[in-house]
């Protein structure tokens, strides 16, 4: 069987038997889907996002259907790293495939706090670091744009997580700066990159008469993610995990052809939980290319 190595440069490595895993934010913190998804068919599961302190998350409404998918704004709702470990550690131990914890790296302190708590936890095979998107208030154009300072801050978060985490570190880059930051992320110690985090979108929520800004999920994301992945694949030598709009084995194959060694499936799980194991079987290294 051909194993997939996500962290060849790391002392423990992160070996998957299958390239398919759920995306962070879509699968819960433990095994919420264990009665609907054949977990043992997957390469890994990604749980989280997890923050240092508990977060109630965004005020409702959080969900809005948009053409081609759904816009979801949760505000990183989760009970915080201490409660997460208390409630879910045993579940992670029971999991038959590697568990990757997704840490929300909103600041260096947050990243360090979470990574230190997870460090040395045997049931956590790897840490995926989520990063802040470009603030809407930041003007990205011009010499005094502030973008450079923002990206410097993001690099600091990655560096802090790298120092604090003992496990392999996967950095999930937002589409907005995947290009600009992929090399710096690798130089800062990322063992692998996830390309991309759900792109941000805004839509008008008519019942509450307000705009909702959140992550976009659905088939509409796939071309954006695939383009970002191809550009990053030309520039960095580390393993890449493709993520965004994957709803079929054929979608997944496109990401593997574009340079990914593994893929994450997001919103498709909500629509059809059974698709996760189906795609995993069709993309199994034992099956080979169609």
């Amino acid at each position: 069987m051909t194993a997939i190595q996500l962290a060849p440069e790391h002392k423990t490595g992160l070996t998957l038997s299958n390239p398919v895993m759920p995306a962070a934010g879509c699968f819960g913190l433990g095994l919420e889907y264990d009665r609907l998804v054949e977990v043992e068919a997957l390469g890994a599961v990604v749980v989280g996002p997890i923050t240092a302190a508990p977060r109630q998350g965004a005020a409702p409404p959080r969900v809005l259907a948009v053409p081609g998918g759904v816009l979801l704004h949760t505000g990183l709702a989760n009970p915080g790293i201490a409660a997460v470990m208390r409630r879910y550690s045993r579940t992670w131990v029971r999991c038959t495939v590697p568990v990757i914890a997704h840490v929300a790296g909103t600041s260096p302190d947050e990243a360090v706090s979470c990574c230190q708590r997870l460090s040395g936890i045997e049931a956590i095979a790897g840490i995926e670091l989520g990063l802040p998107d470009i603030p809407i208030s930041l003007n990205p154009i011009g010499p005094k744009s502030g973008l450079s300072d923002f990206l410097d801050d993001v690099v600091t978060i990655i560096q802090a997580a790298r120092v604090a985490a003992s496990q392999p570190l996967i950095v999930r880059l937002p589409m907005a700066y995947a290009d600009a930051l992929c090399e710096a992320a690798v130089e800062s110690g990322a063992n692998a990159l996830t390309i991309i985090a759900p792109p941000r979108g805004t839509a008008w929520h008519k019942p509450s008469e307000q705009f909702i800004t959140g992550g976009l999920h659905g088939p509409l994301v796939l071309p954006l993610a695939l383009r970002a992945l191809r550009r990053v694949a030309e520039r960095v030598p580390v393993p890449l995990i493709g993520c965004g709009g994957i709803h079929s084995a054929e979608d997944g194959r496109a990401f593997l052809r574009a340079g990914a060694v593994a893929i994450q499936i997001g919103g498709a799980i909500w629509h059809d939980p059974a698709c996760l194991a189906c795609i995993a079987r069709r993309l199994s290294p034992q099956v080979g290319p169609d």
């Binding site: 879509c26 819960g28 998350g57 969900v63 979801l72 709702a77 989760n78 919103g267 909500w270």
Partner: protein, 249 residues
């Protein structure tokens, strides 16, 4: 909880709704009033379906009905079609065995969720407070169990009491020892205030109310269906969609 195929065994008009009958042997043991399934009806988001009838299953049985508006995607289903379902999900209405006087409060759009609770049980008196804009919207009272005490409220006075649910709720809630509510959540704060004023130390879940925002995953994984409650938020898909009225914010 399973992901399974349902066979559509019947579709018929039941004005102002369309009655769709689904045969799903796998689901039946876990379905209950206020619990739901998520159905793949063609959109990217699955559609929650609440059982409107839960007959006693017989051999080879496993059917339940849903009542949907004619504009609902479920109304376009044809007998013989198959629909992918995830269920049963959520925490439904819980009527304690000791209940003797059950009050059901529904707007016409939400009435189907409460219909399974209109089934008569020995020793249980049930009253329904049903609201609509006008008589033409109402569900035919003759379709309801004869022993059910029905109080109709219409905004234009074309049937029953002219006014709003809040006009009749105080007297009825004093009579009841359990209340199950499915209506526009906008009226829930006012209903909660009436419960606090008219009941001394109401028991936990004395008044239970349905809150069903869009539910994306149904299992608590996506955090999309947050409902504000005292001290934070809960998820409609796993903590609800039926909540203690007094904890809602």
């Amino acid at each position: 909880m399973v992901q399974t195929d349902a066979l559509i065994t019947g579709v018929e008009e039941s004005s102002p709704f369309v009655r769709v009958t689904l045969a799903v042997p796998d689901l039946r043991p876990a379905l209950a009033p206020g619990r739901f399934v998520l159905a793949d009806l063609g959109g990217y988001l699955r559609t929650p379906l609440f059982p409107a009838s839960l007959e006693t299953p017989g051999p080879g049985d496993g059917e339940f009905d849903v009542l949907v508006p004619p504009s609902h995607p479920g109304a376009a289903l044809q007998p013989g079609a198959r629909v992918d379902l995830i269920g049963s999900l959520g925490r439904g209405f819980e009527v304690p065995d000791v209940t003797r006087r059950l009050l059901l409060v529904a707007s016409i759009a939400h009435l189907p969720v409460l219909l399974p609770l209109t089934n008569q049980k020995p020793g249980l008196s049930t009253a329904l407070l049903l609201s609509a804009s006008t008589a033409a919207e109402l569900y035919p009272v003759q379709m309801l169990p004869p022993a059910l005490e029905v109080h109709v409220v219409t905004a234009d006075g074309s049937a029953g009491h002219r006014g709003a649910t809040l006009d009749l709720f105080p007297d009825l809630v004093r009579w009841a020892d359990c209340a199950c509510i499915a209506a526009d959540p906008a009226i829930y704060p006012a209903l909660a205030e009436i419960v606090r004023e008219s009941r001394m130390g109401p028991a936990h879940r004395f008044a239970q109310a349905l809150v069903a925002p869009p539910m994306v995953c149904g299992v608590g994984a996506c955090q999309g269906c947050a409902v504000p409650v005292a001290g934070g938020t809960k998820l409609a898909c796993t903590d609800g969609p039926v909540f203690d009225l007094l904890e809602l914010r």
